[in-house]
């Protein structure tokens, strides 16, 4: 079937081939490097938790100690499980405490010692992987029992900064119709090279992503899901300096979706590109195992760039995110590729252009759930106009069969959402769904009309841009400001010092387990 837009399959194939070509060198880099956060993830899978008196997680203390003494070229697993044999009766946290006090001498074990450490590490990490597997089965079981809501899933954000305010708001959102609740992180968390610990009450414009907060919210949503007879999905944010670890914690605490983009941290948080690409691969391997749906962040480009001018950059980025995702083991149904309704409402035919963009993405990625983001940039203080714009966004979402609809707030231009903003937003999409949910079936863009023309144009521009990216390399393209008109040189940004090339004999029990399974 040709689809409503009559896209040329040859052009689509060419676009995918170019994306694979552009991604290849970066994939190779990711396969041959590790990062401090990947190594910490190994320990987290093996059960490390908690923090020292300065609130620095033990995972960080232990990895830093290994790094200081023997480097990370071989990974942390071998030196640490080797040390555990030499410090009988001590668990990972105990070892971390000792190491921090300078009481552990790490080494790269060889021969039988190496084998012994390898086996112990593997067994320890397997425990974590099994817990992830159990969570995945548990999710499937609950969905089977409670039933899965019809697509598009309605996605709502809570962002009070205080997990204990978030919980009632999240439950209220679910009761009012949300299928997915996302807890926005505190600004700045993505630049922390550690994951805070415990239940937190003091975030700015969001709540810290911590294992305990994950657990509390998971339990709260399970409760309300039971009450409502509907599985409520929990979402958080991986992208950032701790992408691998947060992905790991998400698997351990049965989160269902994670914001995880191969370039978001680079463009929007000025995280080093190499660090990001290496981290994203590991994090996606964990997501793949956990059955988590990732959400990518192309929507963000349209907040700094113009949504018409930069429409093709969204498509290019989606093709790259798809490529990196599949390479890491994600299935197509796990690719919640992002895009957004951000065209200036003052321009003529804006709705037709939005339909073109949304339908193009729908047809390019037929199996992906697609995360569709509401207008933000052109939301001002006129809350009535905002409510209307959100309604048309909802309509386009239904007409083009998006999988995940992030609910727009009429007060987007003003403040983080009030309880009532969210309730009104749900009424908004509820009305559109009931009244016009099936309008898309009667929508057939004319062969030579605005919509078809625009979709073809965007795809052509995407192919052209991909050709340039292949030519100059992805890292150069990023450095030149290709995405979100933000320039990020390959050696700039935060976190490059956490990147380490694999040495001969590098070994990571987590990667080994995750890759073996495929």
């Amino acid at each position: 079937m040709k689809g409503k837009l009559r896209l040329d399959p040859a052009v689509v194939r060419r676009a995918r081939a170019l994306a694979a070509k552009a991604a290849a060198p970066v994939e190779e880099m990711a396969r041959t490097h590790t990062t401090v956060s990947i190594e910490r993830s190994v320990l987290r899978l093996a059960g490390i938790g908690g923090a020292d008196a300065e609130q620095m997680p033990w995972a960080n203390r232990l990895v830093d100690a290994v790094r200081d003494q023997v480097g990370l070229q071989q990974g942390v697993a071998l030196p640490i499980w080797d040390a555990l044999f030499r410090h009988r009766g001590v668990d990972l946290v105990g070892l971390a405490a000792k190491a921090a006090a300078g009481e552990v001498a790490f080494r790269i074990p060889e021969g039988r010692d190496r084998e012994r450490a390898r086996l112990a590490a593997q067994r320890a990490v397997e425990k974590g992987v099994r817990r992830i597997d159990k969570n995945r089965a548990e999710r499937d079981r609950r969905i089977a029992r409670l039933g899965d809501p019809a697509k598009p899933w309605i996605y709502l954000i809570v962002a009070t900064g205080n997990i204990y305010e978030d919980i009632p708001q999240a439950q209220a959102a679910a009761r009012a119709g949300a299928d997915i609740v996302a807890v926005i992180r505190s600004t700045g968390q993505s630049l922390l090279d550690y994951v805070p610990e415990g239940a937190t009450t003091e975030g700015y414009a969001g709540t810290y992503a911590t294992q305990e907060n994950f657990r509390l919210m998971r339990a709260a949503l399970d409760d309300v899901g039971r009450e409502l007879g509907r599985y409520i999905r929990l979402t958080n944010y991986a992208s950032g300096l701790c992408m691998p670890e947060i992905a790991t914690l998400a698997g351990l605490e049965r989160l269902d979706m994670m914001l995880n983009d191969c370039m978001y941290g680079i463009i929007f948080r000025d995280i080093n590109p190499q660090r990001t690409f290496i981290d994203q691969r590991f994090s996606r391997q964990v997501h793949a195992r956990a059955g988590i749906v990732i959400n990518t962040g192309e929507d963000n480009y349209l907040t700094t760039a113009d949504a018409v001018d930069a429409a093709h950059t969204v498509v290019v980025s989606q093709l790259l995110n798809e490529r990196f995702g599949l390479e890491a083991g994600l299935e197509p149904w796990q690719l919640g590729l992002g895009h957004a309704f951000e065209i200036n409402p003052a321009i003529p035919d804006s709705l037709m252009l939005e339909l073109a963009h949304a339908q193009l993405v729908r047809e390019l990625f037929p199996d992906a759930p697609l995360k569709y983001m509401p207008p933000t940039k052109h939301m001002g203080g006129n809350v009535f106009a905002g409510y209307l714009l959100d309604a048309l966004f909802n309509l386009v979402g239904y007409m083009t069969g998006q999988g995940i609809i992030l609910i727009g707030m009429m007060t987007e231009g003003i403040h983080t959402p009030f309880l009532s903003d969210r309730d009104l937003a749900l009424e908004n999409i509820g009305y559109i769904r009931t009244a016009a949910g099936s309008l898309g079936a009667d929508w057939h863009p004319a062969k030579d009309g605005v919509v078809v023309h625009r979709a073809h144009q965007v795809l052509a521009e995407a192919v052209e841009l991909l050709e340039r990216v292949v030519d100059e390399s992805l890292l150069t393209a990023i450095a030149r400001g290709t995405f979100g008109i933000t320039k990020r040189p390959a050696d700039g940004g935060k976190g490059l010092d956490g990147v380490v090339a694999h040495g001969d004999g590098y070994w990571n029990p987590a990667t080994a387990l995750l890759e073996a399974a495929r």
């Binding site: 205080n162 001002g380 203080g381 006129n382 007060t411 231009g413 309880l419």
Partner: protein, 247 residues
């Protein structure tokens, strides 16, 4: 109960006091406009207030949207609840009460008064079809309903009440511009007074979406029903007022 009795408006955090306000000022959209809006917001108690939208409408008016925090407290203990002072009865109970205590049919005469032509609300209470899933008064076997429709003058209504020996007069008023509903209600009360003189006049019940249900004394009527009234509430009230308290 240890529920708090004093609360503040809630934006996204307990106690934040956030409210939204919009209004038009008859001033051009110029340098002063935002300051003028802030002045009004301040007088309403918003501090700090944030003018988030300013739109000039022609040369002489400006529209504003303002968000802000108010320090006002709402004391729930001070809220006067219009408690229904009578029990809500089923149709059966209503019929039974009339039969056993009034010993004849209860007669109501209903009309929309004055130039107001809205009948949907009156019909919702009177017609069999009813409202919100409840049948109207016509459905009650022991109630005789005379529905005069709309655009009825107060003297016409009073005359009909006399000729039908009405137990209750029910009037509906939907148009409220220039307080039309209040004036028309006064006319009805006066017309009934001159029709009945010192004789016992029928119960006067007024209804409509913009009436304040606590205003019966001000309006010199027996009962005021506001928006969302259901026929059963009215029937139960009539029984309560006209057929004594049920056992």
């Amino acid at each position: 109960m240890n529920e708090p009795t004093v609360v503040r408006p809630y934006g996204d955090t307990t106690g934040d006091g956030m409210v939204q306000v919009s209004f038009t000022l008859p001033i051009p959209r110029d340098a002063r406009a935002e300051g003028a809006a802030l002045q009004l917001a301040e007088k309403m108690g918003l501090a700090p207030a944030m003018v988030v939208h300013v739109k000039g409408m022609g040369p002489a008016f400006t529209f504003f949207v303002v968000y802000g925090r108010v320090a006002h407290l709402v004391d729930l203990a001070q809220v006067t609840v219009v408690e229904r002072e009578y029990p809500l009865l089923s149709a059966k109970e209503v019929n039974l009460a009339i039969r056993s205590r009034l010993r004849r049919k209860l007669v109501v005469v209903g009309a929309t008064i004055g130039t107001d032509a809205h009948t949907v609300g009156l019909d919702a209470i009177l017609n069999v079809k009813g409202f919100a899933g409840e049948k109207g008064l016509e459905y009650y076997r022991e109630v005789r309903v005379v529905n005069m429709g709309a655009q009825v003058t107060a003297p016409e209504l009073a005359a009909r009440a006399v000729s039908e020996k009405a137990d209750a007069v029910l009037t509906s008023q939907v148009v409220t511009q220039r307080d039309a509903h209040l004036h028309h209600t006064e006319e009805v009360v006066d017309a009934l007074r001159s029709a009945y003189g010192d004789a016992r006049r029928p119960l006067v019940v007024v209804g409509g979406p913009r009436f304040d249900p606590t205003s019966q004394e001000r309006l010199r009527v027996d009962r005021v029903f506001g928006k969302g009234t259901t026929p059963r509430e009215v029937a139960s009230y009539l029984v309560h007022a006209l057929a004594g308290a049920p056992e």
